[in-house]
Structure formats: C-alpha cells, structure tokens
Amino acid sequence: MAEKTIQTHDAYSADLFKDAEKNPENLVVVKNLKKYFPIKSSFFKLTVGNVKAVDGVSFVIKKGTTMGLVGESGCGKSTIGRTILRLIDKTEGEVFFNGKDVFKLSKRELRHARPDIQIIFQDPYSSLSPRIPVGEIIGEAVREHNIVPKEEYDDYITRVMEACGLAEYHKDRYPHEFSGGQRQRICIARALALNPDFILCDEPVSALDVSIQAQIINLLRDLQKQFGLTYLFISHDLSVVEHISDTVGVMYLGNLVEYAETDKLFSKPLHPYTKALFSAIPVPDPDYKMNRIILEGSIPSPANPPSGCKFHTRCRECMEVCKYCAPDFIEVEPEHYCACHLYDSPERQAELGKVMEEQKRAEQAAEAGQK
C-alpha cells in the first residue's frame, strides 16, 4: 500500500508541468528530477543505500527571468544545478532546455549545446587556473567553439571584458594579481564570452565582501538587461535572492517545498519551513523585534530521511498525516506552489487519511509479527 502512495505522489509531480517544454517561453523545464548517490559497502562494493540528494523536483524557468534557489547547506541546491547542466548524470526525471531533453542529447549534440548553458562557481579563488593569463581563460572556449571568426577574436574578448568591468590591459595578467571581486568578474566574463542563453550562478557572491557583493549583483543584473540572459541563482543568502530573483524556490532535504514569484513568496510564505527560514534572517536594525521561529535540531541525513513529510521532525504544525504520507507539490494559489498537508483539498485529505490508516495497521501487524 505504501508504494501506491508514493506512486500517486509521483504522478502528481509529473503531471504538474505537463507539456511545459512545448511552450517556447519556457527556457528550462525540470520535471520530477531525482539524483541518488549510492552508498557502497567496502565489502564487494555492494550498494547498501542511497543518499537522496535530489528527490523529485519540478520547476520552470521562463526566458529572461531569474530563478532563485534557497535552502540550507546539504539540501541539494548545487546538485540540481549540476544535473541540469548534465555535469553529473540523473537518476530519474527529465530536464528540457529550449524544448530539448538534455539527457537524450548525443555527445556531439551536447558539445554544441554547451556554449548555451554556462556556470559561475562559488569560489573565484579555486575556479580559475593560476597558470593561464586572464585573456586565455576567457578566450579558450571561444576559440574552441568558433564563436567568432579568427580576425575578430581579440576585439571580441576585449568587448566581453569591458562589459564585465575589466580593462583590456588585464588580459596578460594572471589570476593571483586580482582581488576576489575582480576574479568573480573574470568568471562572469568567461561564462558570458560564449554568448549563452542560460547561466547557472552557484553562490556567486557568498565568498565576497558586502561592498563587493553589491558590485557583482549589479553587474549580473545589468548584463541580464543587456543580453536577455536567464539565470538560476543558487544562494543561501535570502536577502540577495530576494533582490535579484523573479521567482524563488525553497528547498528542504532534496525536495522543493515552495515555489512562487518573489514578491508573493516573501509577503506571504505558506510552508512552515519557509516561514521559519524567513524569520531567521538577521535584520540590520537594532530596534527590530526578532520574532524568530527557532527550528530545533538540525537537518536530518539525506541517506535516511524521515518518512512522510521530510520536514515533520522539526515542524511546528506537524499533524498525524505528515508522519506517514509525503505531501504533494500542488498549486495552492495561482503560480504559487507548495508541498504541505496544511493546504490539501478535503478530498485529498480523505484519501490520505485512508492510506495512513492502512499504513498504521500494516505497521502494527508487522510489530505483532515480530513479537
């Protein structure tokens, strides 16, 4: 019976964005994406379990917009990013980029698609090769993919660098000669040089100082306006995400628990986890009365997540249902998705109630059998 619940749950998430990839406005469509990392035993290398890093995530990013992805560390934010780029393989689900399934591309097609999808990494200190001058760091891929004819190559690199706030004479320098903010500009220039449609920003400002952070965020926004870029902005800093994103997804332990437009989400969070997360943001005003919802304990291990709703161990509004059934990711309000039993329809509640009863009975029977 338990299996059936999971199936219905899965069916819900798969149906959610049906045919969304056929709409040309949607640049990236992710449907029920799963990524499990197997845990191998030292003995015979048998798989003894799975770390469920991403466990059924669906969302849509429209062209020219920015989606923010927030959550605690270890909740699978970066894994989603890397799976969309096909830097690591998926376990299940589909990712569409420009209407094409990323995981069905052949090696050759993938190579042609690569310039369109670029990434900016978190740490500008370790993501630049210390032995290559900046001009070459930015230009290497441009030459490789023949983005511009040979004779325009030099001019093109200069133009890209200027767009990112770097000067032409920086070309011959090496990364160690630059400060953190400047290095992040180099990373942005490297991504931008391939004329991409979509840039994945994996915590691009968390290693930088506040005043430099503002420079980089402004730069990203200006470039978006100028080139019509689409971003997936991964960060754990909620204030930065609110500033830069059009839509925001909140993740908890491999699941997307809430997804909505930024204004809606910040003015009226629905999920208890989102509420707790927002109440914990430090506000730079000493008179501000902190009304913190302190979450007890820490995030459970993704190798052995709690049954039912994964958040029920720390949730304030935990109900009986939450312990047995995983909540469905439903559209509570138009364009506002949330996965929580608080917002179930009465019919669904009745359905889940039955499932829960049966599960309870099965458990009791199992216990009795053991005795």
Binding site: E72, S73, A167, E168, Y169, S179, G181, D209, V210, S211, I212, Q213, A214, Q215, I217, N218, R221, H236, L238, S239, V240, E242, H243, F266, A276, L277, F278, S279, A280, I281, P282, V283, P284, D285, P286, D287, Y288, M290, R292, I294, L295, S298, I299
Partner: protein, 425 residues
Amino acid sequence: MSDKEELKKTSVGEPEEKENKKKKTSYISAKDSRRITKFNRKITKKLERDREQAGRNPAAYTTKMRDPNNVVEFDNMCTYFFSDVGTVKAVDGISFDVPKCSTVGVVGESGCGKSVTSLSLMQLLQRPAGQTVGGEIRLNMGDGTALNIVNTPIDKMQELRGNYISMIFQEPMTALNPVFRIGRQVNEVIELHNPDMTEEEVKARTLEMLELVGIANKEGVYQMYPHELSGGMRQRVCIAIALACRPGLIIADEPTTALDVTIQAQILDLLQNLKDKINSSIMLITHDLGVVAGMADYVVVMYAGRVIEKGTADDIFHHPAHPYTIGLMKSKPVVGKKVDELYNIPGSVPNPVDMPNYCYFRDRCEMHCEHCSGKYPPEIRISDTHVVSCYRYYETGEILGYPKTVDVEELLKPKNQEGEGMNNG
C-alpha cells in the same frame, strides 16, 4: 570636435599610465628585497629582545584601567607585520573599550584588521613577523590592577587564556581536533586550568558544559568524534570549550559565517543567553551587519586597520555618520525593502603596504572635501557615545585626538639608545 578627440585620446591613454604606476608599486627589485629582509631581521630581533626584557619585570606590564567598568581597553594599539614586501600596518592605532557584561560588535570588510585585533588580544600573532609595536591593551584583572597584554610574558599569558579571555573561531570544522573524542577535548581545557580537580569532577564539569550549550544527548556526544557532529553541533562544542572556565571576555570571530541561517539563529540565541548566565562580555567580530544589529550593544566599524566610527548600536544603525558606514548600510540588500539598484562603494581598499597619508577612504568617498587631502582625520565626538573619524564633523564635534601610529624606522633608532641607557643604569 578636436576637444572630443583629445578627450578620447586621454581616456585611452589613462589606463596605460595607471598600469605603469601599478607595476612600479608592486615591483620590488632584488636590492630592495634584500634591504627589506635585512631591516625586518633587525627590527624583529630588537622587538623580541625588548619584549623579553619587559616580560621579566612585572612592573613593566602591570598598569591601571582608565575605567574599572571595562573588561578590556585598547589604547592606540598598533600591530604590524614585517613581510617580504614591506611593513604591513594591519592595525594602526585603534582605541576602543569593551565594557563589562555587554556585547561589542566589530564590523568591517575582510582584511580590515578585525581578526588581527582579536589575535593581538590573545597574543596569538605569528611572531616574530607579526608584532604589536605600540600602544596598550589593558585587561582588567578584577582586583583593581590591569595587565598590559602587549608585554605580558608567555607563561603569564597561558593563565589568562581560557580563564579571562577565550575565543570561538570561525570554522568549527577545523577548530576541533579530528582524532580526539569531544569529551577529551573539553576535558583538556578544564584540567589545564584546574590542576587540582579529580578526573570525575572534570568529567562532571564537561557534561555540565555540554548541557549548558544545548546538547541534549550529552553522554553520547562526550564519546563522539567531531566528524560525527553537524556544523551547528560542532560550533556548540567550540562554545562549550570556550566557556569551560567562565572567562570574563569571549571573543567570537565570525562564529556563524560557516553556518546556515536557521542554525545561525540558534547559535546567536545561545550566545546571548550564555552571556547573561555567566556574566561575561562578548567581542563579536563579523562582517554581517544583520548579526551585529541583533546582538551588539556597542558597534565598532573598522576600515583599513583603523576605527572609523564607534558608538552604540542605535548610533551606528540609525545615525551612521561616516561615509563608509553609510555606504555599507546601503550596499546590503534587506528583505522587505525593494531597491532598483544596490548602492556600491566604488573602488577597493588601498594597498596595506603603502597607505596614503590622507584619509584612507578619500579616494572611494563621494562626500570628500578639500580638508580630506590633509592629515588623517582625528577622532571627533559628535554625541555622548558616538565617535567618528571624518572631516565632515570637524567644525561641529569635539576633537578627541589623532590616532597614534608608529614609525618603524624611528622605532629602531631611539629605542636602541633607550636600551643602552637601561643597560648602563
């Protein structure tokens, strides 16, 4: 038209000039390099000898507090690093107090000298390259006397660390030793400072401390290794170690930077509660203005090795006076406040080896006036608790004095004579 062309030419020519200038400053010839190394050897030797001499004589490092209600007073403290590229003035004449039972937040960008300040207070600087060359750090001993940390000898320092001052580090992952159990690491601190305690007493104390920092499963955690704990739990253990001997001052060096928002809220709450429980002060070092606003009673804003503004939290957050503080507030996005474009402070921090002799912030400042090209601005009191270093308040405020800096070249000469004089005497 010709004007425009000229303009274009100059604007094209400028970067090249800049580049040449930059190359000149960052380039060190072999001769210069030898000179610097020789000088560094000479001066560090001299400073170490002076320190040893002062350490032998308790009168040389015992002083009196200016105000007995302070735990620690920094008085024109200068900490320099004698590096291969020249003398880095990491902290250059800072003065501020930490009052009893209060939280002082120290804010600034990375590289502004926040951490060096705290390391100087603990005498944990990498000697001989890093030296506190001038000024005083006075630590209240509670019996009317005070110690000048700058000259205190190492064995005396060891009594102070843990008992009077202790520190919580930024990375709980690296601050704990991965090969020892948690229990042993907390025990170690208690045993070291209370040699006459029996093993059972020490263990009881350790468990008590673990409970105090909110670890529910204290017996289990006592037996665990650090890798078995999450980041938040590790930071709790670090706090337990820091508080084990009930120090009067806790230095928290970016205690929540490596943690998530929800865990950060837990840890900050815990620190605030513990501070009241054991009646100590906290020196909270951070770059997050939000954290400071929620925790601190007093705030010190540092920029390029100097204190540019200090006052109560209310002063700093509601009436920021220094252009840098104002810029810092504006450049941080705040949840619930929509702005189209974030303000950004143009330019970057000046090179610490070669600081200008005018206000360090002038070149990035949008409000600078002709005064600013003169001497470095003095500390100016603009209200009872609010002190700022900016010429914009030169006419209206009460001038307290200029930060005292140490000329390293001078340091070598007169101190030599002094040393000889003492030897003769």
